[in-house]
């Protein structure tokens, strides 16, 4: 049933306002969702990285966060005693990074951004 003419104006107005509000909230929501995925470090979590000597000349580092979120894709660096980068890579899909153990002093850097980086010294890495 069509609305009487005297009614149609305000109703349309309200409808338009609602649509505007809806559009705005959709925008805000989209921004929030995007923001959530683009800044993985916003939650209250601590970065974690432990490395183990596999006993076969290789070392495996396991990364993660205290809330259980994945560290896949986090930048990994292996540096010598002087800070020279020997190996560069990323945590794999299982949040693991395996590399050949360098001779002498070395350290491993887990770099998930500011405030979320960990350095593990080679001499602390055991089986």
């Amino acid at each position: 049933m069509p609305l009487p003419e005297w009614h149609a104006g305000p109703v349309l107005q309200i409808y338009k306002e609602k649509k505007m509000k809806l559009k705005l909230s959709v925008l805000i929501f989209t921004a929030m969702v995007l923001g959530f995925f683009l800044t993985p470090a916003v939650q209250a979590h601590t970065p974690l990285c432990s490395c183990y000597d596999n006993g076969d000349g290789s070392v495996t580092c396991e990364g993660g966060f205290s809330d259980g979120s994945s560290a896949a894709g986090v930048q990994m660096r292996v540096e010598d005693g002087a800070g020279k980068v020997l190996i560069q890579g990323k945590m794999d899909d299982d949040s693991e990074f395996t590399f050949d153990k360098p001779p002498g002093n070395y350290k491993v850097a887990f770099d998930a951004g500011e405030g979320h980086d960990i350095t593990v010294h080679g001499k602390e890495i055991t089986e």
């Binding site: 601590t46 974690l48 432990s50 183990y52 396991e62 993660g64 966060f65 205290s66 809330d67 259980g68 979120s69 994945s70 560290a71 299982d94 949040s95 055991t126 089986e127």
Partner: protein, 270 residues
């Protein structure tokens, strides 16, 4: 003659008033929340933990494995049955066949699972089989501690079993063949005598005194969803045993109580 009757009746009364201790299958390691990975010792003992009492003779377990999970990774199952070494475990009253092993733990959750051989309890002319879980975390990164591992009789924790402060509650869900067991009866015991792994024995000193036999073995029931709640009054290891989950449980033609056990470790806030 009168003396003999007195002796016999005294013995009969003693036999009838032995406190109803609960059997508890233990998987023990000293620390459930480790900061670093490495080799951890495990002792597998079937005993009465509050009193460090009679320790039963264990047969070769049916299953012993661990599932390890870290973050969002899919849990990986490792069979550990062949790593078990038979030992004699000494309680305050006897010694019984038990097992020990070592495991190299890395980061995340490790759910140790044991399905022991059914144990024949002569006094009841029936068997007991307690499927047991004990969870160790390394480094604080959680894994799939809250997921069922798929044992027929299983308690699934609803709280991290390794992060409880004294005074927190512990909640678990009792499952039989993956379905919640409404109203399941749960017995609870505190590991009141420290297991001394080097000596393969319980320490003589108890850390708590029960004012009466009921306190040795506490009893609670799960709700209609199979969920139970327990407030933890003291730091240390607590065992929960959900009893007789298989209504048709039998072994070698006799009744078999198929139970689910889980161990948790609480810490004092200091």
């Amino acid at each position: 003659m009168k003396h003999a009757i007195t002796t016999i009746s005294t013995l009969a009364i003693l036999a009838l008033t032995v406190p109803a201790f609960a059997h508890f299958q233990m998987i023990y390691t000293p620390e459930s929340a480790l900061n670093k990975g490495g080799k951890i010792p495990l002792a597998i003992v079937f005993t009465h933990p509050f009193e460090a009492g009679h320790t039963m003779e264990m047969g070769t377990p049916e299953q012993f494995f661990v599932t390890r999970s870290r973050g969002e990774n899919t849990p990986k199952k490792t069979d550990l049955l062949s790593s078990l070494k038979p030992i004699k475990w000494t309680s305050l009253t006897n010694s019984g066949a038990a097992y020990e092993t070592e495991y190299s733990a890395r980061g995340g959750d490790h759910i140790f699972c044991l399905v022991p051989a059914p144990y024949y309890e002569a006094e009841e002319d029936a068997y007991i089989q307690q499927s047991t879980k004990m969870i160790v975390n390394v480094g604080g990164e959680p894994g799939a501690w809250m997921e069922p591992v798929g044992l027929d009789c299983e308690i699934v924790p609803l709280c991290k079993p390794y992060d409880r402060w004294t005074g927190n509650v512990f909640q678990g869900k009792v499952l039989f063949k993956e379905k919640p067991v409404a109203g399941a009866e749960i017995e609870i015991e505190f590991m009141n005598h420290k297991p001394l792994l080097g000596q393969k024995a319980f320490a003589k000193d108890a850390s708590a005194v029960a004012p009466q036999a009921a306190f040795v073995l506490q009893t609670i029931f799960a709700d209609d969803n199979g969920v139970f709640t327990f407030g933890i009054p003291k730091a240390g290891w607590w065992g929960f045993a959900a009893l007789g989950l298989d209504p048709e449980g039998s072994f070698k033609g006799k009744e078999c109580s198929r139970d689910a056990v889980i161990w948790i470790q609480a810490k004092d806030m200091k």
